[in-house]
Amino acid sequence: VSLRPTQLALLGVLLLAVSLAGVPFFLHTHAIPALHGVVVDGRGFGVSEASVFLFSEDEMRLVEETTSDEDGDFDFLLGVESGRVLVRPRAESGFLPAWSPANAGRAGRLPFVLRPARTLAVDVRDERGAPVPQAEVRVYEVRSEPAVVALARTDAEGHAVLLAPERAHVAAFAPTGPHLARWRFDADIASEGARLELVLPPARTVSGIVRGASGPLAGIVLVSWEEGLAEGWNGFTRSDEEGRFELPCSAAPTLVRALDPAGAHLPARLRVAERGDELVELTLERGTPLVVQTTRGGLPLESLVWSWSPQAEAWSWGVRSSASGRATVPVAKRFSIRAEPLDPAFAPLDAWDVAYEVGTLRLEAPKTP
């Protein structure tokens, strides 16, 4: 068979396209490798006999459990697509538990550096100063991806003792519904220990429905925050299949924010007055999807990207950009964008008061961080 020059050229273009797509594209498999890792202390020495748990976050269940060996190494037999790993050292070790980042299932080898534990005593009281027994107290480690490292219930005296890192977010949740919370953000825990008091006000329930242009919206995140109170985050919930939700609120005026994690709708905000506004309705406008690309020297820079909606005076749900540095966020006709690179060496990038036009919004980081 003889080929003409143009046929040969077409064949060449086809072969070039296949080469550019790459051999891995054709040989790609979905097998998830078994997870393994190492647990060390701040000086790099292995921490032995720590319990290591592998969870599936999709199914919210424990998948496998193992123990670190004398060098701090551990191996699981399994891998999980949306896996998350918890390391819990022995109580007498003096270290705090540690969580892997979310979706660590494909990470392969996971390193854990355990931090020394400090003692935190928490007293939970009501507004009259009476102790609140059976309140749930949580300690979150402060980092870009916080996680709960200690949980406890208060005793009959409203008292609980937990382990904590040197800086923590601490929350107390009412023992009975609605489970209103009170917070202490960025609390410093001294090396000799610390004591905190959290006051839980009387709670009420605000019920409502979230709608879009085509009907009720499911999976919308609703956040309730007491107006004017820096640590007055009452709680959050997600709307059900019929768009309905119930939120804990204090008796004071409260701001309810609605955020769409799917990124299709603009955020909305509603003020709930002191009493009598316990049935609310929120309508979310559909946003225009905008692709934001963050780069440095023309190369992708992975970031968390938010869009500001001036009408609602609210930020969208933050979206993590892909490996190509692109993220899609919903925007209105005018909007602002803030992108915070995952690498903290780079300063945040932003564009303020932008009029929407078709195209990609490119944000280029300065060459020298």
Partner: protein, 82 residues
């Protein structure tokens, strides 16, 4: 008017090459940012972002609280589960 097969293949080659070249060199045009005088207070919006970022991160951490509660309810092997 009839086109010869050779000429038709030539057009196809030119089209495929053009698309491939276009995909390689195309770069999205940046949108224009407006004046610093936004219709919202930049400082106010950034204060609001502090809260939005914190709330989102803590909502994401909710699964760790649920999983820890599960562990507390069912002691692990290392704690003497039969």
């Amino acid at each position: 008017v009839r086109t010869s097969p050779r000429r038709r293949q030539g057009w196809i080659l030119a089209f495929v090459s053009g698309v491939a070249l276009g995909a390689l060199v195309w770069r999205p045009a940046p949108l224009r940012a407006g004046s610093a005088r936004a219709n919202c207070s930049r400082e106010g919006a950034l204060d609001e972002l502090e809260r939005a970022r914190l709330v989102q991160a803590l909502i994401r951490a909710e699964s760790t609280a649920v999983l820890l509660e599960q562990l507390a309810a069912a002691p692990s092997d290392s704690e003497g589960r039969p």
